[in-house]
């Protein structure tokens, strides 16, 4: 690596993968609970497994983003990280806080956890994805601000590039919008209105800036295409993201009691949200086609191209399928939503983090790329996980279509539970696909331990 302090990224990446494994274990538990309702009840009820699964997802992606930033920023800014010690300290603080939180979910009844952690002082618990106790939330803010301080000081010290600027914008945005998790209005409409200022403006807003920056960084390194070209594309992509995504928040305001014009604004703007993802895919393939060098890390290139495609399909296409208000009226909160959510998160954020890890880890370990054997193994894991996710999505989509038909559209609608009985077969198939995904993840971890001849790092 070019700068010694880039090494702090390594523990972040390792923790990310470790927590990823935990996330999938709990995913498999829930998948089974869908069809064997009392599996692991009462030790790990469904709602607890769900909190662990979703919270672990967010936390491991955050570890991934932070590791990516610690790796990218010194290289982009052409100067050492402002404080490597701070980065390591924050790593342990964040990891400990995360672990304690998950243990709290698992071993303490939620209401007791709320009481123990001062939820009566400022009530922030009890909302989807934001289940963390108040101290954890405060801890996240502190860790995020300190992390941002470290990264920002580094950029200010050195060269400012479009990539580091966009990355900073995205990361600062991430922190600022998280603050809305502390705002918990009593009015249910407002509660939901502002909840989306965290969730939507994260994944359909500032996180896309982070995604773009990470993808652009890897593409510059592996293709050797002119920085100017890649940075121009990045600006176009994030502009498209913000134009469509900000007012596109309205696609969450259709049925919560907000004014009716949101059904128009949300439909029109969110319908265009696939465009930046389409641009990202064209961008990735175009840059690889125009490459000026044959980088030895083929796996990283595969992840980069895969991110474009899967993000476009999962976030763009599957998102579009249920984004228009007249459609969403019927599909809201169904398995269609779950189908989209899984492929979107995997395609956009899981894959881009795995992409940067794929590119950076070998360098952090002293080589330009892993051995052929290791890369082939890693590429197998790419296909296993990606194909598994496609099947998960297809099965959930099928379940969703049947569910919407039976429960809402049909002339003789069935009850929720009766409908669930009818779609159970798809849940079984989804679970098998989930097992395949987990196998892919194991293969992915194994790829880190495969030896063989590697090329020395060129820098």
């Amino acid at each position: 690596m070019q700068y010694k302090s880039q090494a702090v990224a390594k523990p972040y990446f390792i923790a990310a993968i470790g927590l990823f494994i935990g996330q999938i274990v709990f995913g498999l538990i829930m998948g089974l609970q869908y069809v064997i309702g009392d599996f692991l009840f009462p030790e790990i009820p469904f709602n607890v497994a769900r909190m662990v699964h979703t919270n672990l997802l967010i936390v491991w992606l955050l570890f991934g983003f932070m590791g990516a930033a610690y790796y990218m920023v010194p290289e982009e800014s052409e100067t050492e990280l402002y404080s490597p010690k701070l980065a390591i300290a924050l790593f342990w603080i964040f990891l400990t806080a995360g672990a304690l939180t998950v243990l709290g979910y698992l071993f303490v009844p939620y209401a007791t956890l709320a009481q123990m952690t001062g939820n009566d002082l400022l009530a922030t618990m009890g909302r989807e994805f934001l289940e963390q106790p108040l101290p954890t939330k405060l801890g996240i803010v502190v860790v995020a601000l300190a992390f941002l301080f470290n990264i920002t000081m580094t950029v200010l010290k050195g060269r400012k590039t479009a990539i580091s600027t966009v990355l900073l914008l995205g990361l600062w945005g991430l922190a600022i919008f998280f603050l809305f998790s502390f705002y918990n209005p009593h009015n249910l409409v407002k509660d939901k209105y502002y909840w989306w200022w965290v969730v939507h403006l994260w994944v359909e807003g500032v996180w896309e800036l982070i995604l773009g920056a990470l993808l652009a960084f890897v593409l510059i390194k592996v293709t050797g295409v002119d920085r100017e070209v890649i940075e121009k594309w990045l600006y176009v992509i994030i502009t498209l993201t913000l134009i469509t995504g900000i007012i596109g928040t309205g696609h969450h305001y259709y049925w919560i009691g907000a004014p009716e014009y949101w059904q128009w604004w949300g439909s029109i703007f969110s319908a265009l949200e696939p465009i930046p993802f389409f641009a990202m895919t064209v961008f990735a393939f175009n840059m690889v086609n125009r490459r000026r060098r044959e980088h030895p890390n083929k796996a990283a290139v595969l992840w980069a191209l895969g991110t474009g495609v899967m993000a476009f399909l999962g976030a763009g296409v599957w998102g579009f399928l249920h984004t228009l208000a007249p459609v969403n009226y019927y599909t809201h909160g169904s398995q269609i939503t779950a189908a989209h959510g899984h492929m979107a998160f995997y395609g956009a954020y899981v894959m881009v983090v795995l992409c940067i890890i794929s590119y950076a880890m070998p360098i952090l370990r002293g080589r330009a790329a892993n051995s052929n054997k290791a890369q082939v193994c890693e590429m197998w894991s790419f296909w296993l996980m990606t194909v598994a996710m496609v099947f998960i999505t297809l099965f959930l989509t099928a379940a969703g279509i049947l569910q919407v038909w039976l429960q809402r559209v049909s002339d003789t609608p069935m009850s929720f539970m009766a409908t669930q009985d009818q779609v159970a077969l798809f849940y079984w198939m989804r679970e098998w696909a989930g097992v395949m995904f987990f196998v892919g993840l194991i293969v992915y971890v194994i790829s880190f331990f495969i030896k063989g001849e590697t090329k020395a790092a060129t820098q």
Binding site: E228, T239, L240, W264, S267
Partner: protein, 196 residues
Amino acid sequence: MTSHALPLPNSTEPRLAGDLAIWFFIMAELLAFAVFFAAYAFTRAAHVEEFNLAQQALNRNAGAINTLLLLTGSAFVVRAVQGALAGEARRAAPWMLAAIASGVTFLVVKMVEYSAAFDHGVSLSSSTFDMFYLSLTFFHFMHVILGLVILSVLWLGLRAGRYGPHNMNGLESGAAYWHMVDLLWLILFPLVYVIH
């Protein structure tokens, strides 16, 4: 570092006036508004009487005046670009200022129009037509503001003599954005204010 030489602005080879990135952006904006225009047109088709009635309360004169203002502003921008191309950027700067003045007048007329409409109880929730009228014109209003910011940057550049026959990219890009804003209004005005 590009692999081919760009033709000079006043040659006859096919050439896109302005940066490729800004044209991508322009196409995206055109697409977004096209979707909105279509949404209006097809919603109107399902509620013809209601839309015709509500449209009568619109100030068509203000809309027409605004059209004239934007068109004139665009013509001024073209004159500024021509001046820079001829190597006379500083002398061409007043044309850009005149364009900015047209744009600002547009905003003033629009705000007067809005003020009267709000006094009459028009809001995003008063009717579907009103929702479309306010949304379309407001989104366009925001784009006029952005366009004026861009023109101001261009005006400063012209005054400083930064643009010339060998440095037209920024000027042409900004001008193209302004013309797009004008183009959008050329559809919006007949669609919302006139057609019935």
